[in-house]
């Protein structure tokens, strides 16, 4: 089973590309200014974003720095309140994206250029936290799964 799991996690293993929701898990760091920051890399010949799952402590402002370490061109189409954000990432390039996201919940993002028009490079941003107290239901605490 461990072998199959490994094959699901890479290019041209059991699948053609990495399965959704796999890859390493990274955490954004929160600065004293309240902004969260993280680095995303595109490693060579893996056709993935790393970390595959980026975890935020709560919703808010997120600054992502992208490094394309691959020998091919990619991009990132990212969720953001107001409009999708787009950044072109040619071979060996670096750039940033400033995003505003609600929490809790998770979002997919991906690449849609540079022969990524099919399944693309796909990764997730996970936002932890709760709805603010004033938005929650007036009722006793309820059981959760």
């Amino acid at each position: 089973m461990a072998e199959i799991a490994e094959l699901l996690d890479r290019q041209n293993g059991a699948t053609l590309g990495r399965m959704l929701g796999r890859g390493s898990i990274g955490e954004a760091e929160e600065g004293s200014d309240g902004r969260m920051r993280a680095t995303i890399r595109i490693p060579e010949d893996e056709l993935v974003f790393e970390p595959g799952i980026l975890v935020l402590p709560h919703g808010g402002e997120l600054e992502l720095e992208f490094f394309n370490d691959d020998k091919n061109t990619h991009c990132a189409v990212l969720p953001c309140n107001g409009d999708y954000k787009f950044i072109w990432l040619v071979n060996h390039s670096r750039g940033t994206a400033n995003l505003t996201l609600d929490g809790p919940g998770y979002y997919w993002y991906g690449s849609r250029t540079g022969n990524d028009e099919g399944r693309g490079l796909t990764a997730a941003i996970v936002v932890q936290g709760d709805a603010p107290p004033e938005a929650r239901l007036d009722r006793p605490p309820q059981p959760r799964p």
Binding site: L89, R94, D130, E134, R139, Q142, P145
Partner: protein
């Protein structure tokens, strides 16, 4: 050797990589409460969700009429499509009612989209997209039913239960308030309603055991004004209709996921409430379960419940009553008309919510009997654990959320009718937050279904005519001064019917099914009919026989040829 990276710069907004203009004329800044109050006096516009506070979905515009409707043709279309993985998988549908202010259209879509369009040409002026988490629980599709516009702002509810205000000229966010708990299974799909200096919204999530509520916020700032729960806490009026022990009330449902109507003279909002929870297992919530499945008259200033009428006490069939209450005056009486999921048309005295008349509007009703005063005798319902029970109408109802209309010209009500049954098998389960809480396995009939547009006389409750269809009718109707009723079909046809006879006068195939609310407006004397199309959403509930039909996301606008 260290890599020397090329500078890729900053990510840019997707809209900058398009021909989107980025700004709309300042038409919305003069949309005051007084103008919305008198919306029907400016029929060139469609200023609020139903066209006017009374919910009639009637426009006096008559340039397009029985005599010339055969010449009606597309003027323009708008498409957006869907890219990549978006919230709620692929259950999206285009369900909104386009708002039009002095030649500018404001309309919302699935997955957090809001657009401002030139209503004459279809040119996209600006767009806003709220990023919606993929894992928000959506009980009934990735949809939004429309926006409200007032005082320079566009208001929209988001699937993750925010109410946001956008600058109507730029589409930029002005304020953003959260009014639901997505961890509890709440969401939002309702079109907001602006009343006085407030914007009013309700919650979705009635299949997840939440406690339904209606919320009012300050229009300018987003500051909360009031919240009213539609299931009372122990000790509050109506709490005697819930079990005295336990927490059934806390999971009781009663969500307000359809826009209210409003009587400014009585200062009352007419709020339809959703099903009790669990939908089909009444054994865990003995009693009538107020104020679920009710029409509730709510004081607009305080949010206090003034009166109510419960259509389906102790519901065991998922018969939400969220659908509109159409306000009209007839023979000196202030009335409200409500077509309920349970298959009956109710004419109420809207001053006290007492029933005046009750009449069936669909052929097959066997779940129970309802007398002329609205008293219910249940007949067929899921009762024994594991015992399948078939009943008509099914849980999508004889009429779904999509709206009926009323023509003051013909003094007739027009309803989109769904004649389809379902089988429910009670399966009790424990409650857990964020998990669907139906208490049954349910399958809506795949065959033996029908639909119609039916005209009913509110004086008698009798059917005056019917335009029959092979499949249920699942989109809102629009009545006009041109003696026409517009109706979209699940199979894509958009129809114009003679308001007096039901005769089909004109038809256009839009390429995807209708599950939205058409509106009408005029610019420089030319009348337009706008209809969003795009099949999807909760199809398994209202027409599973068309689950495999193609989806879409186009807004069509029709007009007569220019001379």
């Amino acid at each position: 050797m260290a890599t020397e990276y090329v500078d890729a710069g900053q990510a840019v907004g997707n809209s900058t990589l398009s021909t989107i203009v980025g700004i709309a004329p300042p038409v919305a800044k003069d949309v005051t409460y007084e103008r919305i109050l008198n919306a029907r006096s400016e029929p060139q516009n469609w200023l609020t969700y139903y066209g006017a506070y009374d919910g009639q979905r009637y426009s006096p515009l008559d340039q397009i009429n029985k005599g010339n409707v055969k010449q009606l043709a597309p003027a323009w279309a708008f498409q957006c499509g869907s890219v990549g993985l978006h919230s709620g998988k692929s259950t999206y549908s285009f369900e909104a009612a386009p708002i039009v202010v002095d030649g500018i259209m404001f309309v919302s879509g699935w997955d957090g989209w809001v657009w401002a369009l030139d209503a004459r040409t279809g040119e996209l002026l600006w767009q806003y997209r709220h990023a919606i988490p993929y894992d928000v629980s959506l009980c009934c599709g990735n949809v939004n039913r429309g926006v409200a516009v007032a005082e320079g702002k566009v208001f929209v509810a988001t699937l993750n239960a925010h109410i946001i205000a956008l600058d109507a000229e730029t589409g930029k966010k002005v304020w953003d308030e959260t009014y639901g708990d997505v961890r509890a299974g709440e969401s939002a799909t309702v079109a907001p309603l602006v009343v006085k200096d407030m914007v009013i919204v309700g919650s979705s999530g009635g299949e997840f055991g939440v406690r339904g509520h209606l919320d009012a916020f300050k229009r300018e700032t987003g500051e909360r004004v009031w919240r009213t729960y539609m299931v009372p806490k122990p000790g509050e009026p109506g709490s005697e209709t819930w079990p005295a022990d336990g927490e059934a009330w806390a999971r009781g449902g009663g969500n307000c996921w359809v826009t209210s109507t409003f009587d400014p003279e009585l200062n009352l909002l007419y709020v339809g409430t959703g099903n009790p929870c669990p939908d089909f297992d009444g054994g865990v919530r003995e009693g009538d379960n107020l104020y679920t499945d009710s029409g509730v008259a709510v004081d607009a200033d305080s949010g206090e419940i003034r009166s109510h009428f419960q259509y389906t006490p102790h519901d065991l069939w998922d018969y939400d009553s969220t659908m509109e209450h159409i306000l009209f005056d007839l023979d000196g009486r202030k009335l409200a008309a409500h077509f309920d999921k349970n298959g009956f048309l109710y004419i109420l005295d809207r001053t006290n919510m007492e029933p005046v008349r009750v009449a069936p509007f669909v052929d097959r009703i066997d779940w129970g009997e309802v007398d002329e005063k609205g008293n219910v005798t249940p007949k067929v319902y899921p009762d024994k654990e594991g015992d399948p029970v078939h009943f008509w109408p099914g849980p999508a109802g004889a009429k779904e959320w999509t709206h009926a209309c009323y023509s003051p010209k013909t003094e007739l009500l027009y309803a989109p009718v769904q004649d389809v049954g379902a089988t429910a098998t009670r399966r009790r389960r424990e409650f857990k937050e964020s998990i669907p809480y139906w208490g049954a396995g349910v399958a809506v009939d795949l065959e033996d279904m029908a639909g119609s547009v039916s005209a009913l006389d509110p004086r008698t409750g009798e059917e005056r005519w019917r335009w029959s269809n092979d499949v249920p009718m699942c989109s809102s109707l629009l009545a006009t001064g041109g003696d026409l009723v517009f109706a979209g079909e699940p199979t894509g046809e958009f129809n114009a019917l003679d308001a007096s006879s039901g005769e089909l006068l004109w038809q256009f195939q839009c390429g995807s099914g209708h599950h939205s609310s058409p509106t009408t407006y005029s610019i420089d004397g030319r009348q337009y009919i706008a209809v969003p199309t795009g099949w999807g959403a909760w199809t398994e509930g209202f027409l599973p026989g068309m689950l495999g039909a193609g989806q879409g996301s186009s807004l069509f606008v029709f007009a007569l040829p220019e001379e």
